[in-house]
């Protein structure tokens, strides 16, 4: 029974590909429905092919405004979290100090906490302080929950770095500052970049914490959430599809560059 044997050998491959299909199905739907021309306010049923939404992605009020708010917050949150997180990561890997365990726990806890708990407690703080909810409270919250992820990413990289490299730099007439700028930072850069990318993605796509602490400020996920109640414009799918395509192209391009570089070296 060659077919049964083949099936037995490849069962895991088939199961894995089915899971992959499950993961990708919604993206396919999102893409297909970006060419839809829905009858009512909701874009859940296929009606007819149309390029209207692609021709006018900002045609819905608030959509592109919220996108811009999200991008701004993601940018500043990435900057802040990467800076603070990198400092912490260096302190944790490179120094021995008291309260190390406490610091580690404080880094770990935000990652082990349901988002809704952090969101709710942060809101109680802001309410108690009488803070005006909006751009700044969102930014503060985003830096807070991105921080731990940046620390983890940078720490992994710095830990795998050979301390002899810095000794070599000092041996070769580089003072402490030169050593940091010329050797430590460039070698830690991939870890810092990974942390920053992660922070950007987390911040840009965050909904729950933003939902609690946004006040009347509208981010892109908030806009989508609202439209799920009021009516989903096709433009949402256009933005979602565009981001997917841009991301895949970006990754493919960076892989191609890396591949070419490797070939040149060889």
């Amino acid at each position: 029974m060659p077919f049964v044997n083949w099936l037995k050998r490849n069962l895991v491959v088939i199961a894995g590909l089915l899971t992959l299909a499950y993961l990708l199905l919604p993206n396919i739907i999102v893409t297909v429905f970006s060419f839809n021309k829905p009858k009512g306010r909701f874009n859940y049923e296929w009606q007819q092919f149309s390029l209207d939404a692609w021709k006018d992605p900002c045609g819905v009020s608030d959509l592109c405004g919220s996108l811009s708010v999200s991008l701004q917050i993601a940018f500043w949150a990435t900057l802040g979290a990467t800076l603070l997180g990198t400092l912490i990561a260096f302190a944790l890997v490179r120094y021995r100090f008291r309260a190390r365990g406490a610091v580690n726990s404080l880094i770990f806890l935000p990652m082990a906490m349901p988002e809704v708990v952090m969101a709710a407690s942060l809101l109680t703080l802001f309410l108690n302080m009488g803070a005006q909810l909006g751009f700044w409270t969102i930014l503060i919250a985003h830096i807070m929950f991105c921080l731990s992820f940046v620390v983890t990413a940078v720490k992994a990289r710095v830990m795998s770095m050979d301390p002899k490299l810095e000794e070599a730099a000092r041996d070769l007439y580089a003072g402490p500052f030169q050593t940091f700028v010329r050797v430590t930072l460039p070698i830690a850069a991939p870890g810092i970049a990974a942390g920053a990318l992660l922070a950007f993605a987390l911040s840009f796509d965050d909904f729950i914490i933003t939902n609690f602490n946004a006040g009347s400020t509208l981010t892109f996920p908030m806009f989508v959430w609202g439209s799920a109640q009021r009516g989903t414009p096709v433009q949402i799918n256009v933005i979602g599809t565009a981001m997917f395509v841009v991301a895949v192209l970006f990754v493919l391009a960076s892989m191609a560059v890396g591949h070419r570089r490797n070939r040149q070296k060889a």
């Binding site: 050979d162 490299l165 000794e167 070599a168 000092r170 070769l172 007439y173 010329r182 070296k265 060889a266």
Partner: protein, 381 residues
């Protein structure tokens, strides 16, 4: 600052030590490395040789003592202000810089604007001119090793420190690099201090070897001197193999001491004895395996007079090409090792055969019997 052109560029360590909490890595140590010499610090891992090296480089602060380069006290100087460079174990080449920039690193940090000529010359010296624009991970182990040497040498340090520089290479490449390093050292005339656990490497390359054990220098001398006249069992075992016989001082005869061991007598030149020689005193008599000749007991009469002799039975023999290594069981010493060159092999010399071991008394050395005859055996293995 004393003047940089000091004619005596010796490295002098006076009373230098390093302790970590309760652990003493290096006991107070005095050591002078003459300018232009190839000096090796030899010892097993954890003996303090690398710590000593790092204190010279400035990467480790000594707990006590002073480091002099010529007349200049550099103890308080950070590594980037010392005219000393290091070739690190596993090289520590900067992975993000190409070979050219790795080699240029030191010059650039000292504010040199045009480094092209120097770097290219240096890369030619280590035969890597073609590889200048490659990244370290694209080079073979031997090439990386040469980059590490070039990166340090280009700065014209007063002293070049080498921390197990050949440890990551395979045997054949290691041999080749040993000669290469020796050539470079002769060419540039800079003092090399080389840390290694490989006794053969130390003996091949260095003019002077300091054998370290447990944070102290056990013995210092030329490779031949250390090998022929070890002063401790550790040195005798760590550098090559030694056979030891416990013996008692019987009398003196001219320049030789007559010793009793088992039923027989052995001669030992008094000059080669590092133990007290009062009559009745105990002495460890040492002899290297390759100095010993092996004669079948039936031919004992043919052995010339005046040689030290011992009887025994061959317990094991292994043929290894250039020589045959025998283990001989003798009443005065179990597991006596004998290396016989394969000139005229006597077919009777097989395990079980009764034999007489004999050697020129001049090749005998005597050590203090209070020490462990097996010290350094494990470490050398």
């Amino acid at each position: 600052m004393t003047n940089q052109t000091d004619p005596t560029g010796d490295v002098r360590l006076t009373g230098i030590s390093k302790t970590y909490g309760a652990f003493t890595a290096v006991h107070p140590l005095d050591l002078t490395v003459p300018q232009g010499s190839f000096f090796a610090l030899l010892g097993a891992s954890g003996c303090g040789k690398t710590t000593t090296l790092r204190m010279i480089a400035g990467l480790e602060e000594p707990s006590s003592g002073t480091v002099f380069l010529g007349d200049q006290d550099v103890t308080a100087l950070p590594p980037y202000k010392r005219p000393v460079n290091t070739v690190f174990q596993s090289y520590a080449l900067f992975p993000h810089l190409d070979i050219f920039e790795n080699v240029a690193f030191g010059l650039r940090r000292r504010g040199w604007k045009s480094v092209k000529k120097q770097v290219e010359e240096m890369l030619d010296l280590v035969q890597l001119g073609e590889q200048a624009r490659k990244k370290p991970h694209q080079l073979s182990g031997g090439q990386q090793q040469r980059v590490a040497v070039a990166r340090a040498l280009i700065n014209h340090p007063k002293v070049l420190l080498l921390d197990e520089p050949l440890g990551a290479l395979d045997l054949k490449l290691r041999r080749q690099m040993q000669l290469e390093l020796k050539r470079i050292q002769t060419e540039v005339g800079i003092t090399f201090i080389h840390v290694t656990h490989d006794q053969e490497e130390a003996m091949t390359m260095a003019d002077t070897v300091a054998v370290m054990n447990a944070g102290r220098v056990e013995q210092l001398g030329t490779p031949a001197d250390l090998y022929e006249n070890p002063r401790t069992t550790f040195v005798a075992n760590f550098l090559g193999t030694s056979n030891f016989i416990e013996a008692e001082v019987d009398s003196k005869s001219g320049d030789d001491i007559v010793l009793k061991a088992g039923g027989g007598k052995l001669l030992l030149p008094e000059a080669r004895c590092g133990a007290p020689t009062t009559t009745g005193g105990k002495v460890l008599v040492g002899v290297r395996p390759e100095k010993i000749s092996l004669t079948h007991a039936d031919d004992a009469g043919e052995i010339p007079e005046g040689r030290n002799r011992i009887t025994g039975r061959i317990a094991d023999s292994s043929f290894i090409g250039v020589s045959t290594q025998y283990v001989v069981d003798s009443p005065v010493c179990a597991d006596f090792e004998v290396y016989a060159q394969n000139l005229d092999r006597d077919p009777r010399l097989v395990p079980g055969a009764e034999v007489v071991l004999h050697w020129n008394p001049a090749h005998t050395f005597g050590l203090d019997a209070t020490q462990d005859a097996d010290a350094g055996v494990e470490e050398a293995a």
